[in-house]
C-alpha cells in the first residue's frame, strides 16, 4: 500500500496566518470572532463571524471575487517559500515556488479545490460565477497544465477532497495532488444560515449543554500531497501521513444528521479499514463540532458507540475560528499535523458545561496524546460524512 504524505500545508483563519497561529490560538482558548462590516447584519440572528483580518473584497462588478483574493493570499503567504517582499496579491502565483519545477510540467500536480460557494460574492452584481471557475482560474495562475476540479459536498467538501486526492495517489494515478480549500463570509451564505435557524446569537459553544448553534467563519488551507516515491525524488520532508479515509451518506434527512449517526459510523469504520487501523487504536479525535444541537449530539453518540470513552479525547475548534464550511476539513487536517507534532490536543473553546455524554471525551483544557494517529471528521447537508486518519511519519 503506497503511503500518502502531506508534505506542505498552510492555513489562514480568523486566528491569523499559519498553523502555529491556529494551534496556539485554539490552545489558548482564543476566539477570533468580530463584528461583520462587509454588509448590514441587522436583519440576522448574529452580527459576528470568524473573519480574516485585512481581507476585503468586491464592491464593484469588475473586481475579483473574495475567494480568489484569499486563494492568492494563501498560496503566496508561505513564509519559507515566499520571503518578505516577494508576495504580491495581484500577480499570478508562481507554482514553481510551491510545487517545484517538475510539478509545473506535463503530468504534474493535480489541483483539487474544495469550496461550497466559491465566488458567490459576485452575484450581488447580477453576475453568476460558477464554483468550477475557481479551480480553473487557480490552475491557470499556478501554471498547471490541466484545469483541476472542485469537490462540493457541503461541509465535508475538503475532507472528501483530501480523501479523493489521497486515493488517487495510493492507486498510482497521481504522484502529486494540491488541495486548496476555502470559503469566505458573504451575505449570501450568512443570511441563509440565519434564516434556517442554525446560527447562534452568541459565539458557538460546541459540545456544551447550552449550545445554540454555529458561528460562521471564513478560512483557507492548502495541503500538498505526495506518494512515497515522489517524496523521495523531491527530497521533501513529510509533515504527516494520510493513513485512511472513509465517506458515507446517512440517507436520512437533507439538513439534519441521522440521530443514530449511521453515516458517520460507516465513514469512520471505512477509514479505519482503509488505514489498516483498528478502532481500538484511535484515542484522539478532531470532531466536526459545529455547536448545533443535533450535530454535536450525533457525534457524541457515534464516538461513544465506536470507541472506549475512558481512553478517548476529542475536541472542536469551531468555537474559536467559526464554521468555515467547505474549508473546515482541510483547515482541521492542517491543525492535526501540528497536533501530531506537538503531541497535544488543544481544548474546545466555548465549552463550559459539557453536554450529556461529552464530559470525559471533550474538555476545554489542552491534553497530551500518546498515540501517533488522530481521527478527524466532518459532516454536512445532504447527510454526507467523511473521516480521515492522519498519522505521524513512520
Amino acid at each position: 500500500m503506497t503511503p500518502v504524505y502531506i508534505v506542505d500545508a498552510h492555513v489562514i483563519t480568523a486566528l491569523g496566518s499559519g498553523v502555529e497561529s491556529l494551534f496556539g490560538g485554539v490552545a489558548a482558548g482564543k476566539k477570533g470572532f468580530a463584528r461583520v462590516d462587509r454588509f448590514d447584519t441587522s436583519a440576522y440572528v448574529s452580527p459576528y463571524a470568524g473573519l480574516i483580518s485585512g481581507l476585503s473584497f468586491s464592491i464593484k462588478p469588475e473586481e475579483t471575487s473574495g475567494v480568489l483574493i484569499l486563494a492568492r493570499k494563501l498560496l503566496k503567504d508561505r513564509v519559507p517559500l515566499y520571503p518578505a517582499g516577494s508576495a504580491n496579491s495581484v500577480d499570478p502565483i508562481n507554482s514553481v515556488d510551491l510545487l517545484g519545477p517538475e510539478d509545473s510540467l506535463d503530468l504534474g500536480a493535480l489541483l483539487i479545490t474544495a469550496s461550497t460557494k466559491g465566488p458567490v460574492d459576485l452575484i450581488r452584481h447580477g453576475q453568476g460565477s460558477p464554483v468550477a471557475s475557481l479551480a480553473g482560474q487557480l490552475a491557470r495562475e499556478l501554471g498547471l497544465n490541466r484545469p483541476g476540479f472542485n469537490i462540493n459536498a457541503a461541509c465535508a467538501s475538503s475532507t472528501i477532497a483530501l480523501a479523493k486526492g489521497a486515493d488517487l495517489i495510493r492507486r498510482g494515478r497521481e504522484h502529486t495532488v494540491l488541495i486548496v480549500a476555502l470559503d469566505v463570509i458573504t451575505e449570501f451564505v450568512f443570511s441563509g444560515f440565519s434564516a434556517i435557524g442554525a446560527m447562534s446569537a452568541s459565539p458557538a459553544m460546541p459540545f456544551d449543554r447550552d449550545r445554540q448553534g454555529l458561528t460562521l467563519g471564513e478560512g483557507a488551507a492548502f495541503l500538498l500531497l505526495m506518494g512515497k516515491e515522489r517524496l523521495e525524488q523531491t527530497n521533501r520532508r513529510a509533515l504527516a501521513e494520510i493513513r485512511g479515509w472513509g465517506i458515507a451518506c446517512d440517507a436520512a434527512h437533507l439538513t439534519a444528521p441521522d440521530r443514530t449517526g449511521s453515516g458517520l459510523k460507516k465513514a469512520v469504520i471505512q477509514a479505519c479499514k482503509s488505514g489498516e487501523t483498528s478502532l481500538d487504536s484511535i484515542h484522539a479525535i478532531n470532531a466536526h463540532g459545529t455547536g448545533t444541537r443535533y450535530n454535536d449530539a450525533m457525534e457524541i453518540e457515534v464516538f461513544k458507540a465506536l470507541f472506549n470513552p475512558r481512553s478517548l479525547m476529542a475536541n472542536s475548534i469551531k468555537g474559536s475560528i467559526g464554521h468555515t464550511l467547505g474549508a473546515a476539513g482541510a483547515i482541521e487536517a492542517v491543525l492535526c499535523t501540528k497536533i501530531l507534532e506537538k503531541k497535544v490536543l488543544p481544548g474546545t473553546p466555548g465549552l463550559s458545561h459539557p453536554a450529556e455524554g461529552a464530559g470525559t471525551i471533550f474538555s476545554r483544557d489542552n491534553r497530551e496524546i500518546t498515540s501517533d494517529s488522530i481521527l478527524t471528521t466532518n459532516s454536512g447537508f445532504g447527510g454526507i460524512n467523511a473521516a480521515l486518519i492522519l498519522g505521524g511519519v513512520r
Binding site: Y44, L107, P130, V131, N152, K164, F188, C249, A251, G382
Partner: protein, 232 residues
C-alpha cells in the same frame, strides 16, 4: 441510464434520446417518480433535473425506491457522483433575489438549502437509500469523464458493487454541454470466460494510459454524452 433534456426525458428503452429542444418538460413527482416523495415539489429546477435523471436511470437498472410497500426503508451501499460546470447558478440568482427584497430581512430558508449544488444527491440518497460516498465534481469545460473516472475508481476499490454517476447543468450554461442531466448506473461485473454477461448490457472499460480514458466496446469515449449516443 436516464436523462432530462429540453427535448426529452426518460430511459433508453422507452424514449428516444434527443439533446436539444425549445423548453424543458415540466417535472412533477407524478411524471418522474414511482413512489411519492414530498420534497420533490419544493426542490429547485437544478435539483429536480438531477434527481429526475437519477430516478430514470435507477428505474432502468431495476433499483426501486428505498421505502417498500410495507413501509420498510432499504439501505444500499451505492455511491453517487455527479459532475457539473454551472452548479446551481440559476438557484443562486433566485435566492439572491429573495435576499435583495426588504433589505435582506426575508431570505428564503427553503431555497437556501438548494443553493448547495450537492443537495439533490442527498435527496436521491434518501429516496433510494444510498449510503455510499456522494459528492459533486465541478469543473470548467466539463466532459463528464472526471466523475466517470471517479466512479470507476470506486468500483475498482471493491467498496461498491454499483455506482451512480452523471452530469447535471443548469439552463444558464454558456458552454458546449447541453443544459440538463444524464446519469448512468455502473455495476462491476466478473467478466471471466465462465461468466460472459448479458451481451445487451454495454461494457465500459478503462483504457491503459491517460488518453482516451474509456472504451465502450471498441469505441473511444471522450465525453459522457458520447457514451449515450454510442449506446443508442
Amino acid at each position: 441510464m436516464g436523462w432530462v433534456f429540453s427535448s426529452s426525458m426518460g430511459r433508453p428503452d422507452r424514449v428516444q434520446l434527443s439533446l436539444s429542444g425549445d423548453h424543458f418538460p415540466e417535472l412533477t413527482g407524478k411524471s418522474v417518480l414511482k413512489n411519492p416523495y414530498k420534497p420533490f415539489g419544493r426542490m429547485d429546477n437544478f435539483s429536480k433535473m438531477g434527481f429526475a435523471a437519477i430516478a430514470f436511470a435507477m428505474d432502468h437498472a431495476g433499483i426501486s425506491p428505498s421505502t417498500t410497500r410495507d413501509g420498510v426503508k432499504k439501505k444500499r451501499n451505492i455511491a453517487l457522483i455527479a459532475g457539473s460546470e454551472t452548479g446551481c447558478l440559476e438557484t443562486d440568482l433566485l435566492y439572491q433575489a429573495t435576499l435583495s427584497r426588504a433589505g435582506g430581512a426575508l431570505p428564503s430558508p427553503a431555497l437556501f438549502a438548494y443553493t448547495l449544488p450537492s443537495c439533490f444527491l442527498g435527496e436521491a440518497s434518501i429516496y433510494f437509500g444510498l449510503t455510499g460516498e456522494s459528492y459533486m465534481v465541478e469543473e470548467e469545460n466539463m466532459t463528464g469523464l472526471t466523475p466517470l473516472s471517479m466512479a470507476m475508481d470506486c468500483l475498482e476499490s471493491g467498496l461498491y458493487r454499483a455506482v451512480v454517476c452523471g452530469v447535471c447543468n443548469s439552463e444558464l450554461t454558456k458552454t458546449d454541454s447541453p443544459p440538463g442531466a444524464l446519469f448512468l448506473v455502473l455495476e462491476s461485473i466478473d467478466n471471466s470466460d465462465d461468466n460472459p454477461g448479458d451481451p445487451a448490457v454495454p461494457v465500459l472499460t478503462r483504457s491503459p494510459g491517460n488518453k482516451p480514458l474509456f472504451h465502450l466496446g471498441k469505441r473511444e469515449i471522450k465525453t459522457l454524452v458520447d457514451f449515450f449516443e454510442y449506446v443508442f
